[in-house]
Each structure stands twice: as C-alpha cells, then as structure tokens.
C-alpha cells in the first residue's frame, strides 16, 4: 500500500484502486497469450504465400482469399468468376449449424424446463445425468454414434429383428446423421443456460399473467419466453458456434456429401497436402461471420435494454 494513503478511511475498493493494473495483469497476459495471439497469427498467415509441403513463405499474398472467392480456371489465367465451392460449403455449414441449434432448442427448452421445475435435490441429479456423456471424449462419443447407427449396428439390427423395417435404414453418411451427431454433441450447451434462466424465473409472473386473463400458451409466448430469453440466446450461441466449426460429426457421420467448414479447414493443416494460408483465410472468414452474428445479438440486447 502507498505510504501516503489515509489510514482506515478507505473502502475496500479504494484500497485496491491504485493496484488495479497490477492485479489485472495475470488475466490480461492470459487473454493476450491464449486468445489474441492465435487470432493475430491466423490473420497474418492468411496473407502469406503457401509452401507446398505445408507451412508458409513469408511473402505477402492475397492468393488465399482469391482462391476462396474467385475461380480463375485450372491454370489461373482465365478471367475471374465467382468460386461457389467454398461459399457453398460455408452456406451448407451455416444451415446445418442453424438446424442443429433449432433442434437443440426444441428439445433443450422442455428438458431445461423440466429440470428447473423439479425439487432442488432431484434437480442436481438431472443436471448430472445431462452432463454424463461429457465425461467421455467427443471423438469417442462420435465414433460410438457411428457404430450405433451404421447399417450393421445395433439400432438397425434391433429394428430388423423386431420387424419394424425390412432393410437397414441407411442412416450413416446422411445429413440426418450429421444432425444427430451435432445434436448429441451440443445439447447440454443448450440445456444448461436455459436451465439457469428458468431456475431464476419467478413463477408468480405466470400466475400474474393467468390472473390477467392470459391462457397458458399466451403466457409462454408473452411472459416466459421473453423473460428467459437471455438464457435461450446464450444456449443458441453456445450450440451454433461450435456446430459451425465442427468437423468430427461431419467427417465421421456425414462422409463426403456433407462436407462442412470444420473439415475444410482441418484438411488444410493436415499432413503435407495442406494449404496453410487458405486454411487461415477460411478461419478468418468463419470468425468474421461468427462475430457478425454476436454483434447483431449484442445490438438487440442493447435495444431491449433502452426501450
């Protein structure tokens, strides 16, 4: 403490005031090292020239972005036209991630509601059950899913034996399988924030709405959903963002037809065939999309705050 500081007069915040920068230093170093540095590195790499066996040549180039957006023919000498391949992959990924988010919301909201309205002891048991799959590595979980639903897997065998179906469902390598994988991977990220919001929800509000001539569905739409909205949005972001960059589920369950951004980026950094600047550029574009979505969310939050 500084020698001139008045004794005893300061509140605790006063005592810490002068030291704030020093006390904050560890977190700033952490954020800088683990968060900003990788992003800056990625940004820099995306503007470098590729080396053919992976890695980069330190020479400025827009080639990676050019490759992403423009088609200049096989030898790069034709007049540029829009390259739809990667935009298509991005679009499909956004669509897949959006659908996965929607499905997670559809199942996650009632689940969270159910848990939050149990008595306190059983609540923690239910929460524990929801998080149990997370004790197992994501890769193993996804592979197990593949084994479960493949044509010779237990699901199909059971259904065949019972006689519900005549031949295997052919679930593997479809969009449905990818959705299932994403849903299974990220459902708890939807359930937990909504649970937290519903648990804080004051059920007297529902009674007040009913008292003021509002039926159950109207109460859900006009009172409950708006009040727990922050939890819903948090859940949607937590599911959407990792779904967008997911590569395990599309790789293992989807096959070539359902190629997604995550797999595209992953390939660029794998082995000797990769193209690091292109992978970095694709990541930067993905990051930009995610940031834009978050920004729209933040804007909306502020608007409701002021209104």
């Amino acid at each position: 403490m500084a020698a001139g500081a008045p004794m005893g007069a300061g509140t605790s915040s006063h005592i810490y005031e002068g030291n704030a920068p020093r006390l904050m230093a560890p977190s700033w170093i952490f954020i800088g090292f683990f968060l900003l540095a990788p992003v800056i590195m990625m940004a820099v790499y995306s503007f470098l020239t590729k080396e053919f066996r992976g890695g980069v040549i330190w020479e400025f180039s827009l080639a990676a972005y050019d490759q992403f957006f423009f088609d200049r023919g096989l030898f790069g000498d034709e007049p540029p036209s829009i390259e739809w391949t990667y935009i298509g992959i991005f679009w499909r990924s956004i669509w897949q991630a959006g659908l996965a988010t929607f499905v997670c919301l559809l199942i996650g909201f009632p689940t969270a509601w159910f848990i939050a309205t149990r008595d306190p002891q059983s609540r923690s048991i239910w929460l524990f059950l929801v998080t149990i799959p997370y004790w197992v590595n994501l890769l193993i979980r996804t592979v197990s899913m593949k084994f479960l639903i493949r044509d010779t897997g237990p699901l199909n065998e059971f259904l065949l034996q019972v006689g519900v179906i005549g031949e295997p469902l052919g679930l593997i390598n479809t969009n449905f399988a990818v959705q299932l994988g994403l849903f299974y991977s990220y459902l708890p990220f939807m359930v937990l924030p909504i649970y937290a919001a519903v648990e804080r929800y004051d059920f007297a509000l529902s009674e007040a709405a009913a008292d003021l001539y509002s039926g159950a569905w109207t109460t859900l739409r006009l009172i409950i959903l708006p009040v727990v909205k922050p939890g819903i949005i948090a859940g949607c972001i937590l599911v959407f963002v990792p779904s967008l960059g997911a590569f395990l589920a599309p790789d293992l369950l989807g096959g070539a037809k359902t190629f997604m951004i995550g797999s595209l980026i992953e390939e660029q950094f794998k082995g000797n065939a990769g193209n690091w600047p292109f992978g970095a550029a694709a990541s930067m574009i993905l990051l930009t999309i995610v940031l834009c979505i978050l920004l729209v969310y933040a804007r909306n939050q502020n608007k409701t705050e002021i209104r």
């Binding site: 039926g215 109207t218 409701t304």
Partner: protein, 357 residues
C-alpha cells in the same frame, strides 16, 4: 340483504393439503363496493382463501360464488377477479404502461383503447409520468402502485390484495393506506384485503373477518371487532387486552354478573351464552381508570412504566399475582403513579366483556 348486493360468497370452503387442513369450512359474504379484510396470524389460511377465490388453488369442499355464479372449476384466467401480489410480480421486460395494458389486451380491447385506459389508471395512481419506465427503475412504493393499477385496469368485479403493503417501510405504508382506501371508494370495486397487521385492518376496512387456524372467528366492523370481540382469540389478537380470570355468578341474556379477583361484584356484557362457572373478562388497557385504592373494582401495585409517546403504559400486579396493563394518555395533567404505589383500578361499565374461550 339481497343476493345481488353480494360480490363474493364463500360457502363452507374446505381446503386440504395432503392430510393438513388449511381451511375448515369457511363461509363469508363480501358485499359490493366493500373494503373487506381477512385478518389473522401467520399460517391461518388467509392466502389460501384468497388464492382459492382467484382460482390458483382448487377447493376440496364447498363453493365460491361470484355475483351468484359458481366459480368452481373455472381457471384463473377466466375469472373476472384480479390480484395484487405480495411481491407485485410485475413483468420485468415490459414498461409500466405495457404492464397495465396487459390484462386489457388479453380481454380483447383494441390497442388504442387499452393505451387510453392504461393512462387513465396510471393517472389514478399518480404514475402517469413513469409510463415508459421499466419496473426495475421504480421505487418499492411506485412498484406497488403499478401492481395496483395493473389489477384495477380491467375493472375486475373484485380486487384481491395479499399483504400488498408488507414490502413497504412504515412511513410509506401509512401514506399508502389512505391512498388505497381512497382508491377503493373512488372505483367502487370490492376489495378483499389480506393482512396480519391489526392496525392496518382497523384503519382501512369496512368489515373484517378475523381468522385463526383455518376458521373464521368473527366478522364485523372494526368497531365491533375491537369493542365486542366474541372470544378470547379475537380480543387478544386485535389490539391489546387484559384477560382476567373471573367467577361467573349469573348470566341473563347478554349480561353477566361476575366476581372480580378481589371479590368485588361486577356486571358486564357477555359475548355468547356461557355456562356459570369461571370465565375470562377482557378489559382494554385504555378503558381502565386509576382511582384511589379501597373502593375501586380492583386494587393493584404499580410494577413499571413504559413510555409510548402518545401514551404511558403502566404494568400493575393484582393481589392474587395476576399482571395487567393500563394506559394513560400522555398529557401535562396526567399524574403517573410511582412504581410500588398501591392504586385502585376502575373498569368502565360496558367496555369490559365476558368472553368465551
């Protein structure tokens, strides 16, 4: 009284929670345009009764009628009854005006009319300038008035209020009391007001129902409840009283002759038909006069004083060891007996009552 003058009729209502019975056959009639209070200690079933009227609780037995129509089985949103909740339960994501308009819009009012009515009601509770604020940006007293406005806006047949003042501090509570009473007169809507504060009940109500353990003990005007309690519970719960163990010599109609602890005979009104034997005489501390010892109803020794501002309270002990309290108005001419002094106590005729247990 003609039945159309009754707003709510509670008929032999029983409410069980598992094997606990919260209401044991409660019957009440609440008249139109009446400020009716349910008064009783914590846990006596006031909230349960109110929630049964609003439709949040089903009743196990009995009926609740609104203007003669049975409400049994009708869900809360179909009952033309509105509630002011204890913790207000204002919708946090809506402005004050939107809160007040909520019930109107659900009832199918047009937006334009709902806005107009909403503003009128906010005017009524003097909150017009806060229409665009969110509930969290208001003080406790203001939130309380928004809750009131929201419940009044749809012009309910009956307004239910569950301890609406308990979240306010004392000073505010006193000013809101008179506002609430004025509002009730102005709107002409029957209010059913729940409280466990007897002062609140006495100052605001047209009639009071005193409850205890899921039963109605007495229904009457504040004056009747205070001055003619029917039993020990009511006398003790509403205001302060001295309960003297007396011997009943004879009872004739509503009048009883009793023998006071010191042996002095005394004639007083009796609450209900009692058997001769022993009974309890209730004497309010402010209805006892101090005289010279010897020829008074009772002789007592002063054991202490309590200064109450407007009054001075004396603690006295009778010769048989029973303790009583006596109130003297605090004025310059009041002579306060010293501790240890022997004084005479004169009970006001008609103000002391013989009570059932």
């Amino acid at each position: 009284m003609a039945s159309q003058d009754i707003a709510v009729s509670v008929d032999q209502v029983v409410k069980h929670y598992g094997n606990f019975t919260a209401l044991h056959g409660v019957s009440l009639d609440i008249r139109e345009s009446e400020f009716f209070t349910l008064l009783g200690p914590s846990g006596c079933g006031k909230t349960t009764l109110l929630r049964a009227i609003a439709g949040f609780e089903s009743v196990s037995e009995g009926h609740i009628l609104l203007k003669g129509e049975d409400l049994t089985g009708l869900p809360p949103h179909q009952r033309p009854v509105n509630t002011v909740f204890q913790q207000y339960a204002l919708f946090p994501h809506m402005t004050v005006l939107e809160n007040v308009m909520f019930g109107l819009l659900r009832k199918g009012w047009s937006k334009v009319e709902a806005v107009r009515r909403g503003q009128d009601v906010l005017d009524l509770v003097q909150l017009a300038e806060f229409a665009k604020r969110k509930p969290t940006q208001l003080s406790g007293g203001q939130q309380q008035r928004v809750a009131l406005a929201r419940a009044l806006a749809p012009r309910p047949e009956v307004l239910l209020l569950d301890e609406p003042l308990s979240a306010l501090d004392l000073k505010l509570r006193q000013s809101v009391r008179s506002e609430l009473k004025a509002l009730q007169r102005e709107t002409g809507i029957a209010f059913i007001f729940v409280t466990h504060d007897q002062e609140e009940a006495l100052t605001m109500s047209d009639r009071i129902a005193v409850m205890s353990n899921g039963r109605v003990q007495q229904i009457g005007s504040p004056k009747e409840i205070y001055e003619a309690p029917v039993n020990r519970f009511v006398a003790d719960f509403v205001g302060e009283t001295n309960l003297l163990d007396v011997e009943i010599a004879s009872i004739d109609g509503g009048t009883a002759s009793v023998v006071l602890p010191g042996g002095t005979p005394f004639t007083c009104p009796a609450a209900t038909v009692l058997d001769p034997g022993r009974g309890h005489l209730s004497a309010r501390p402010e209805r006892i006069r101090i005289t010279a010892p010897g020829d008074a109803h009772l002789d007592a020794v002063v054991t202490g004083h309590t200064y109450l501002g407007t009054d001075i309270q004396l603690q006295v002990r009778l010769s048989d060891g029973e303790v009583m309290s006596v109130r003297l108005q605090n004025s310059e001419t009041t002579s306060v007996p010293e501790v240890g002094q022997t004084i005479g106590l004169q009970l006001e005729e008609g103000a002391a009552r013989l009570l059932a247990d």
